[in-house]
């Protein structure tokens, strides 16, 4: 329940619509993976094996960010200096790679490996078997544990996203009153989000204004960018040939929208939790208590 300041009298107007920042947060809730209307769900195919399902971290970023966070880039939101991991440099004698990191082994032969993820319909655990291979049998320990790594899959401008997504294109309909469209995650939470603003004009009259908090900044909204990342990246297994099908995020069925293929690091997909599933997001007005 946001509020808007009335500067002339130091009062606050009650609002009914969540602000844009909260909308972006809602798009990235884990519960959105299980959403049936505007889900945050992708289909990941590793080396042509049976697909698995996962969610993404989707960020609205400043112009020019996507050119720095290119596809395949690794990002973390933890400060590695907060983690004491002596395995990086604590080996007494140098290893075969000429450093003091501890070492380990990988399997180079094609190996059937089980990957578990949460079923998006039931919330229960589901297992897929994928064929993985390694390029090197020996490796050194290079990445600190105890922190989460994210991998950039792709990025684009908000204008490009608007052109790619199914449904009402805000670039073709400048009037926010015509922007109502909940057919996909990008439409509902990023592009076509609307917000009714209650405010007081200079004459003290109560007024309302329907805005799109993205387009209200003017034509520069088209230059903002959206970056798509997967979570829980496995930094040690060798990159595999992976296809990420992002169709659902754009309002299409899998196989009918944007897909990104290439050599990517594996990641641990969305996992079920241990207790009864529950999620609620609601807004209500109650008369009296």
């Amino acid at each position: 329940m946001p509020i808007v300041n009335v500067y002339s009298s130091n009062r606050f107007k009650v609002q009914t619509d969540i602000p844009y920042s909260q909308s972006l947060n809602l798009a990235n809730l884990k519960a959105r993976y299980f959403d049936t209307i505007a889900p945050n769900i992708i289909q990941t195919t590793i080396n042509g094996s049976a697909p698995i399902f996962d969610n993404m971290l989707i960020l609205l970023v400043d112009q020019g960010t996507a050119s720095q966070l290119t596809s395949g880039s690794i990002v973390t939101f933890n400060d590695p200096t907060n983690i004491v991991d002596i395995n990086i440099s604590g080996l007494t004698n140098q290893n075969q790679f000429g450093t003091n990191s501890i070492t380990g082994t990988s399997t180079t032969a094609l190996t059937q490996t089980s990957i578990t993820f949460a079923n998006h319909s039931t919330g229960n655990i589901q297992t897929a078997t994928v064929a993985l291979s390694g390029a090197n049998s020996e490796k050194q320990y290079e990445f600190k544990t105890g922190m989460e790594y994210f991998q950039v899959i792709t990025g684009m401008t908000t204008y490009q996203a608007d052109l790619l997504a199914f449904g009402t294109k805000i670039s073709q309909n400048p009037n926010p009153a015509l922007h109502g469209n909940d057919t996909s995650l990008l439409r509902k939470y990023f592009l076509n989000k609307r917000q009714l603003i209650y405010y007081e004009d200079s004459n003290g009259n109560n007024r309302t204004e329907l805005i799109n908090p993205l387009t209200i900044i003017g034509e520069t909204w088209k230059n903002l960018e959206i970056v798509f990342l997967v979570r829980g990246v496995d930094m040690y297994s060798d990159p595999q040939n992976i296809t990420y099908d992002l169709s659902k995020l754009f309002g299409f069925n899998f196989g009918h929208g944007l897909a990104v293929s290439g050599q990517f690091n594996l990641n641990v997909p969305v996992q079920p939790n241990s207790s009864n599933p529950a999620f609620v997001s609601n807004q209500n007005r109650l008369s009296h208590i």
């Binding site: 009650v14 983690i83 501890i102 922190m147 496995d234 040690y236 594996l266 599933p277 529950a278």
Partner: protein
């Protein structure tokens, strides 16, 4: 590795086995950046003076038990487990949009942030709302003030 019945906080690489004879345990001071997936542990703090969420919502949809475990229930009488994360924004001075709030003290909220308590008294918690040797998951912005009606917006996730 911390194992739960069907979920884990840490995961091993798919195709890399570290030399266990060389590996040393890893420590971190960044407690609050870990996901709180341990449903067995309550928040150990009663927000908004111990009033329940139902005080805001009239108890018709969402409620909690009002004590320091902050266990929630949705659309019924079954408690779902300890809070994993979420937010509550509410105000207590008017019932209609476009009405005025005259004081920020009438604007209330809670943020439920995933973090672990400190059970080891030797660990110092920074950046938390603290009492001696205790770290809280629940933070509140103001004290709750009961009145005649509320607008509220609430988002919670306890699982999935």
């Amino acid at each position: 590795m911390i194992l739960y019945s069907t979920s884990k906080l840490y995961h091993q690489p798919y195709n890399f086995q570290v030399d266990n004879s060389q590996f040393s345990a890893v420590t971190s001071t960044a407690l609050r950046f870990y996901s709180s997936m341990d449903k067995s542990r309550g928040v150990n703090y009663s927000p908004n003076g111990g009033l329940t969420i139902g005080s805001y919502t009239n108890g018709s949809v969402i409620n909690d038990n009002g004590d320091s475990t902050q266990t929630l229930r949705f659309y019924g009488s079954t408690y779902q487990g300890n809070v994993e994360g979420g937010s509550l924004m509410a105000q207590s001075s008017s019932t209609f949009p476009n009405n005025n709030i005259n004081s920020l003290s009438n604007y209330n909220g809670r943020n439920y942030s995933p973090a672990y308590h400190v059970t080891n008294s030797g660990i110092i918690c920074n950046h938390f709302r603290t009492k001696p040797q205790t770290c809280y998951e629940v933070r509140q912005t103001t004290n709750f003030r009961q009145n005649t009606g509320f607008w509220w917006y609430l988002t919670f996730t306890t699982s999935k």
